[in-house]
């Protein structure tokens, strides 16, 4: 067994890698800290790219296949960068029976993208959620991490138009 294990150097000088290092150290730089480390990477960089997966895997001494396996097993992790704005439509049961499918269709039609995709100009990402736990306010949509309740197709469309126009 290799006991003399050199600590890998971070992929870049970016200070955000220090956050990742802190998380890994806090959990004893062991394989059990893999999920927490990936959470920190995603929080800091927005998504998990190959470089980040490789760095975390080497640091925690797990095969890259395991890091990749974990990153793709859990829905919360994303391997692609998100758009400038994100629109998350909740598809929980309460939202579903109160019209979430119609909301989703409206966005899909207006933006021409499916859930998990980002518009060509990189402005808006469309996502769906299993359940936000805001069932009392169904149907719910998250606009850039702000939850909005009792959303109508019209309100949703207005927001999308605002996002598209505002920045152009």
């Amino acid at each position: 067994m290799i006991t003399d294990f050199a600590k890998p150097t971070a992929p870049s000088q970016d200070k955000r890698w220090r956050l990742v290092d802190t998380t890994m150290r806090r959990l004893g730089s062991q394989s059990r800290g893999l999920i927490e480390a990936l959470h920190t990477v995603q929080e800091a960089f927005g998504y998990l790219d190959d470089e980040a997966l490789r760095y975390v895997a080497v640091s925690l001494r797990v095969p890259l296949s395991r890091a990749y396996g974990v990153a793709t097993f859990y829905h919360f992790f994303t391997l692609k960068p998100a758009g400038e704005h994100t629109c998350v439509v909740c598809m929980g049961t309460a939202c579903y029976i109160k019209g979430a499918p119609q909301l989703l269709k409206a966005v899909e039609k207006d933006l021409g993208i499916a859930p998990g995709e980002t518009t060509g100009d990189g402005k808006i990402s469309l996502l769906t959620a299993r359940c936000l736990g805001s069932c009392g306010l169904a149907p719910a949509v998250v606009y850039d991490s702000n939850v909005a309740g009792k959303v109508t197709t019209q309100a949703l469309r207005e927001r999308l138009v605002k996002w598209t126009r505002h920045d152009s």
């Binding site: 579903y96 299993r130 069932c135 009392g136 306010l137 991490s145």
Partner: protein, 547 residues
């Protein structure tokens, strides 16, 4: 912290509370925050300052008050509850203190929604400031822990839990006392306590509310459990989708550590307990205990066959106690009031109260806590206030993707573990979704099967392939392309999944299909034979997608 110090804090807190002439509580749980209740709180603070009322009136951010659909909610020490409060209303609310309430904002509390509830788990929800430990201590928080550490042996604590008859609130209803005693008896110097806060059922938000509203209550329950079973380390496994709950748990853990309620030699005894958070990453299967353990270990969340049960070989191979948030939240009340007191509430086999999340096509959506044994009719029509827009009740769905749809003929059935199982559903974690005639039950079955298919971890074949096939068949029926043979095929596949899947996800995935087949056979018939959807849901959307 010593028991005396704790008592001193409690007295100081109670004294401080009486100094204020008026107190105004603003709900700052996720439901109301998404209706901008934080702006209401900010405006209140400002207005109090502007008026120079700092010594006279206290504004406090508190947890969930239950009536989520009417948020932001504000309550006052006069006993008035206000709904839909905006930042502009704060002046009027302050003016009305000690006098006539602002009538246009008043939400009546003399209604079944509030009157029919019996609060144990939510006892301090909407009263206590979730971000201040002293406030929790002022409401006799952590006194159950002191009682346990100073007066009771671990086996006496387990006995008290056995006496209470409390059953696991995560859904399966395994007797909590029995689980504790198994872990307590297991050998080994290292044991773990895990709180399952991976509330994955869509349409359920009980655990989120408890964690956001009263996090110390859950920590106290875990501490007592750790003392009883002899564990020195614990984890709360919480969904990453609940950022506010995570934030408040982090604050609560830090506060408890500083006060010496977590860490080594707690309250000057030999008892030590270290608690940490682990974030889930969006996998429904991680609600299953062996999958959850695997996830805490930093691996893919796939279940493994039991036995050995986690009570014998769990986290890192050590004996592990896993309970749900609501189960832990019941513990301190049981210790303070005694197991016998708890056992008097509820029914013969299902003791105590249960928190339900009412959602869907019902007037009062929100969070309620009721004694076990209440009827579904009382839940839907009295507490829930009935169906809006003059529509007809069709079904109530309990237990999420593992549960079933219960039709109107069972409305007078009591809500307890056995009765729900008898009609083909389960108690589940407490999500209760009400559907009216605008929901197509075949579409609902398809919705849940699509969920189970996506969430299947892929480890065992019956679940991985079976959910896919069931989803295909249901999709065909929804597109009006089903044939007479499809119904038999559904039944056969359901039977296969139920009997051969590795874990609860696959075993219970057929429940939504089986229960709708059983109670809404007519709707399946209309789809299969007449190629029409009585509720007008199926088919319409499909064409829209094409267009």
């Amino acid at each position: 912290m010593t028991p005396d110090e704790l008592e001193q804090i409690a007295e100081e807190e109670q004294g401080a509370r009486h100094q204020f002439e008026h107190r105004v509580n603003v709900c700052v749980a996720a439901g109301c925050i998404s209706c901008q209740s934080d702006a209401v709180k900010g405006a209140l603070d400002e207005e109090i300052k502007r008026r120079g009322w700092e010594k006279k009136c206290q504004a406090k951010g508190v947890g969930c008050m239950g009536l989520c659909a009417e948020g932001p909610l504000v309550s006052t020490s006069d006993g008035t509850l206000y709904k839909h409060v905006t930042a502009e209303d704060t002046g009027a609310v302050l003016d009305a203190l000690g006098g006539e309430p602002v009538s246009r904002l008043v939400s009546p509390t003399e209604v079944p929604f509030f009157q029919r509830q019996r609060k144990i788990v939510l006892e301090h929800s909407g009263i206590v400031d979730p971000e201040r430990m002293e406030d929790y201590i002022g409401l006799s928080g952590y006194s159950a822990l002191i009682k346990v550490l100073s007066e009771m042996t671990p086996s006496e604590v387990v006995q008290e839990m056995v006496k209470s008859g409390l059953r696991g609130r995560g859904g399966a209803g395994y007797p909590t006392g029995l689980k504790w005693s198994t872990v307590a008896k297991a050998g080994g110097s290292q044991k773990y306590v895990i709180c399952n806060a991976d509330e994955g059922d869509p349409g359920a938000f009980m655990d989120r509310s408890v964690l956001e509203s009263d996090p110390h209550r859950v920590i106290e329950g875990m501490l007592i459990a750790a003392y009883a079973v002899g564990a020195s380390e614990g984890y709360i496994y919480v969904r990453a989708e609940y950022p506010l709950a995570i934030k408040r748990l982090r604050i609560a853990i830090r506060q408890a550590e500083r006060a010496g309620l977590l860490g080594t030699s707690i309250c000057g005894t030999r008892f030590s307990f270290r608690l940490d958070l682990r974030l889930g990453a969006g996998a429904f299967v991680c609600g299953e205990e062996t999958a959850l353990i695997s996830s805490v270990e930093g691996k893919r969340g796939t279940p493994r066959p039991r036995p050995p049960y986690p009570a014998q070989a769990g986290l890192f191979g050590a004996p592990t106690l896993i309970n749900n948030v609501e189960t832990f939240a019941n513990v301190s009340s049981i210790i303070l009031n005694g197991g016998e007191w708890y056992a008097k509430i509820g029914t013969e086999k299902s003791k105590g109260t249960k928190v339900f999340a009412l959602a869907g096509r019902v007037m009062n959506t929100g969070l309620v806590e009721v004694p076990m044994g209440i009827t579904l009719r009382e839940m839907v029509f009295e507490i829930g206030g009935g169906i809006p827009d003059g529509r007809q009740f069709k079904a109530v769905q309990t237990g999420g993707p593992s549960g079933g749809c219960i039709p109107s003929e069972y409305l007078d059935m009591p809500v307890d573990y056995e009765s729900l199982a008898k009609v083909g559903s389960i108690m589940g974690s407490g999500g209760m979704i009400i559907m009216d005639e605008s929901s197509c039950m075949v579409d609902v079955a398809k919705y849940f099967m699509d969920f189970c298919m996506t969430e299947s971890c892929g480890k065992c074949v019956p679940c991985r392939v079976g959910t896919y096939q069931l989803n295909e068949v249901l999709g065909r029926i929804c597109r009006q392309e089903g044939t007479a043979a499809d119904k038999a095929l559904l039944e056969e596949l359901c039977d296969l999944l139920k009997n051969t899947s590795l874990c609860g996800l696959g075993q219970s995935a057929p429940n939504p299909v089986l229960s709708t087949l059983r109670y809404f056979a007519e709707e399946y018939r209309a789809h299969l034979e007449e190629h029409r959807c009585p509720a007008g849901v199926c088919g319409v959307q499909e064409h829209e997608v094409v267009a």
